[in-house]
């Protein structure tokens, strides 16, 4: 006990209060994950577009505007598929539903599960781009060597800012982590 100064009863209170901050901030770090998602969803930052189907509402078609929509496909490293859009680009009127197709082919002799992450450019137009059907809403499983045509149905919101008349929709296909091993184990 030589160097123990007089035990101050205030110490316990200070420690417990500070520990509340410590645990609170540890939790806050994790809370940033959903907060970040919500924030990006609301604002469409990151070109984040809906990853769940929107209800199709019939809208006034604005025939005075022509919007050019380009389609892009890319593969994450390690993804042994071929993946491309059937049309390079289409021109739509805001409010007019449009259906296009992408194709994916599994180039290996194993079944593989993939997950496509969509993105819309320019980022500030992302919230005006609504997909009512998309292969990106669910995981896609391709058997060995299988080729599949996958539709996307979308509509551009007539509220789209005036100065935007070109959009790009891009998908990146990722291999689901561990999916090769999983499918192997199933076989």
């Amino acid at each position: 006990m030589t160097s123990q100064p007089n035990q101050n009863p205030g110490n316990a209170r200070v420690i417990s209060r500070l520990m509340i901050i410590v645990f609170g901030m540890f939790g806050f770090g994790f809370a940033m994950v959903p907060l970040y998602d919500v924030f990006c969803d609301i604002t469409g930052i990151n070109g984040k577009t809906n990853d769940q189907a929107v209800q199709a509402v019939s809208r006034q078609i604005d025939e005075s505007r022509n919007i050019e929509v380009e389609f892009i496909a890319s593969l994450n490293a390690d993804m042994p598929w071929a993946f491309y859009p059937l049309q390079k680009k289409v021109t739509v009127h805001p409010g007019q539903p449009m259906r296009i197709n992408y194709v994916a082919k599994n180039l290996t002799d194993k079944a593989i599960i993939g997950h496509a992450v969509p993105s819309v450019a320019p980022g500030r137009a992302a919230t005006y781009f609504e997909k009512t059907e998309c292969f990106c809403f669910t995981e896609q499983k391709l058997e060995a060597g299988e080729e599949k045509e996958m539709p996307v149905i979308f509509v551009v919101d007539p509220e789209l800012p005036e100065d935007v008349n070109q959009l790009a929709l891009s998908y990146t296909f990722f291999i689901k982590p561990g999916s090769e091993a999983q499918t192997l184990a199933q076989n």
């Binding site: 101050n8 500070l18 806050f28 770090g29 930052i45 980022g123 982590p177 561990g178």
Partner: protein, 530 residues
């Protein structure tokens, strides 16, 4: 009766001896000493890595090390300097000074204090072990930069990343315990009459820094925990394949990271605010504005983090917000610089080594502040980002800023710690060589950075050759002049001209009322503060 008290007193002042004195120490001075020596040791370890980096960059092309090893050097240099040198040195200074400056006998939680220190060698042992294994050909040490961005540190991280994560967890626990201790000490152990607004600025800056630590070290622990589960337990916080987002990593990291840079500079502001009035022989100008400026810097540091992420494709509104918010920080920072200069204005100044380091700090830190202002202009930062310009900026604020203040603090207080005066001539040599070397290494980095030389790359194109050669020469001058510092410190602990109680003519504050060297227990009876 008096005999009993006498005997009790005897017993109280008895120092434990041998290795046990250090291993089981609960004494704020011994623990402070250990922190400072640990930091000093790490300074040479991290410094050696810097010299490897600079030697490789002496001329274009790859000559000394493999690019993979170069990456490990930049990573470990950064991690060690931030977490192993600057932070422990300031905690060491707080341990020594805070109880003495507020008239307390010791820290409020002495046993926790022992733990906070002894976790550190463990944490850095783990980190350095991964480097030693890498040099023996077993895998790679962490190689993703001190900012350990995902996916470099998750999908592509070497196996040693898990050791790194463990090490960061331990450092975090150590810092949090240290911070709790400092807050408890300041809140509960102030001498009678020592109101908050009478506390020395150094104590104030540490009080606020401790709150910053408590708020953001848990976020750092959180982000490395997410990395850990991404790497080993199949989560996808930062992996787009599983619905996560690597940019999220940067947000969480910099939410910790920006307050962290202020954790490394606020105590430096405190040190300079002690040294300047002493050698200008005046009271500090604008005491209360100093306190409020420190508090507002701390607050602002939480809302500017994405100025590190201007090029990640934020929307314009975000760029603008983070740009203006960051600019705001320059205001309280400017208040501080103004106050220091005003303190010196018409003072009767002398230029002993601590004062030289303090003035050096004010000059060079301000250069770093200006480049900070340049970089917080979002459109301009697209040019500066990830170039040597950034490296120049943060070395001005950290090496010739934070580290200068630590060196100044050591010269300032070492007579109180050891009872001996240091060698003034050697101190001046140390200051001038460090200043010249420091500017030689970091100033040219502004130019090569503006011209587009990327950071963290072991090779560069020919037009950058002259400035890089100059920087390397400067780095070696800077590095080797620290040996003068080491020699001077060791010599002072061994003996020398005896220091008086007050040490400096203009010294003011409770620590200068204690004998030199300060007794094992500072104020066994609390002093009365008017």
């Amino acid at each position: 009766m008096s005999a009993v008290i006498e005997e009790h007193h005897e017993h109280h002042d008895h120092k434990p001896t041998g290795i046990g004195r250090w291993l089981f120490s609960t004494n704020h001075k011994d623990i402070g000493t250990m922190y400072l020596w640990f930091s000093f040791l790490m300074f040479f370890v991290g410094g050696a890595m810097a010299l490897v980096i600079r030697a490789e960059l002496f001329e274009p092309g790859l000559q000394l090390v493999e690019p993979e090893f170069f990456n490990q050097m930049t990573t470990l240099h950064g991690l060690i300097m931030v977490f192993g040198v600057i932070m422990p040195a300031f905690v060491g200074l707080a341990n020594w000074q805070v109880p003495m400056m507020i008239g307390a006998p010791d820290m409020a939680l002495p046993r926790m204090n022992n733990w906070s220190f002894w976790l550190l060698p463990g944490a850095f042992g783990i980190l350095i072990a991964s480097l030693i294994m890498s040099m023996m050909g077993m895998g790679s040490a962490p190689n993703f930069g001190w900012t350990f961005y995902a996916p470099l540190s998750t999908t592509y991280g070497p196996a040693s990343t898990d050791y790194f994560i463990f090490s960061v967890h331990i450092m975090g626990i150590s810092s949090i315990m240290g911070a709790i201790n400092i807050i408890a000490t300041i809140m509960n152990l102030r001498a009678p009459g020592m109101t908050y607004m009478k506390m020395p600025i150094f104590v104030w800056t540490w009080f606020i820094t401790a709150y910053l630590l408590i708020a953001v070290m848990p976020v750092l622990a959180g982000v490395v925990t997410m990395m850990l589960t991404d790497r080993n337990f199949g989560t996808s916080f930062f992996n787009a394949a599983g619905g996560g987002d690597p940019v999220l990593f940067q947000h969480v990291f910099w939410f910790f990271g920006h307050p962290e840079v202020y954790i490394m500079i606020l105590p430096a502001f405190g040190v300079v605010s002690q040294i300047v009035p002493t050698f200008a022989r005046k009271k500090i100008f604008g005491y209360s504005s100093m306190v409020y400026a420190t508090a507002s810097i701390a607050f602002l540091s939480f809302i500017v983090w994405a100025h590190h992420m201007f090029t990640t494709g934020m929307p314009v509104a975000g760029e603008l917000y983070f740009m203006y918010a960051t600019m705001l920080i320059a205001i309280p920072t400017g208040v501080k610089v103004f106050n220091w200069v005003s303190t010196m204005w018409r003072g009767s100044m002398t230029f002993e080594t601590p004062m030289l380091f303090a003035i050096g700090f004010i000059f060079l830190f301000t250069i770093g502040g200006f480049t900070g202002l340049m970089m917080c202009i979002a459109p301009a930062d697209f040019q500066y980002h990830d170039t040597y310009f950034i490296v120049a900026h943060f070395h001005y604020v950290l090496a010739t800023g934070a580290a200068f203040s630590i060196m100044g603090a050591v010269y300032f207080w070492i007579p109180k710690w050891t009872g001996n005066m240091y060698n003034e001539t050697l101190g001046k040599w140390h200051f001038w060589l460090t200043t010249i070397g420091g500017n030689m290494v970091f100033f040219p980095m502004h130019f090569v950075g503006l011209a587009g030389m990327p950071r963290r790359i072991p090779d560069y194109s020919l037009q950058f050759a002259e400035f890089n050669a100059l920087a390397t020469v400067g780095a070696f001058i800077f590095g080797f002049s620290q040996l003068i510092f080491l020699y001077n410190v060791i010599k002072t602990t061994r003996g020398g001209e005896k220091a008086t109680e007050k040490v400096w003519e203009g010294a003011d504050g409770l620590e200068w009322t204690l004998p030199s060297p300060a007794p094992f227990h500072s104020f066994t009876t609390p002093p009365q503060v008017r």
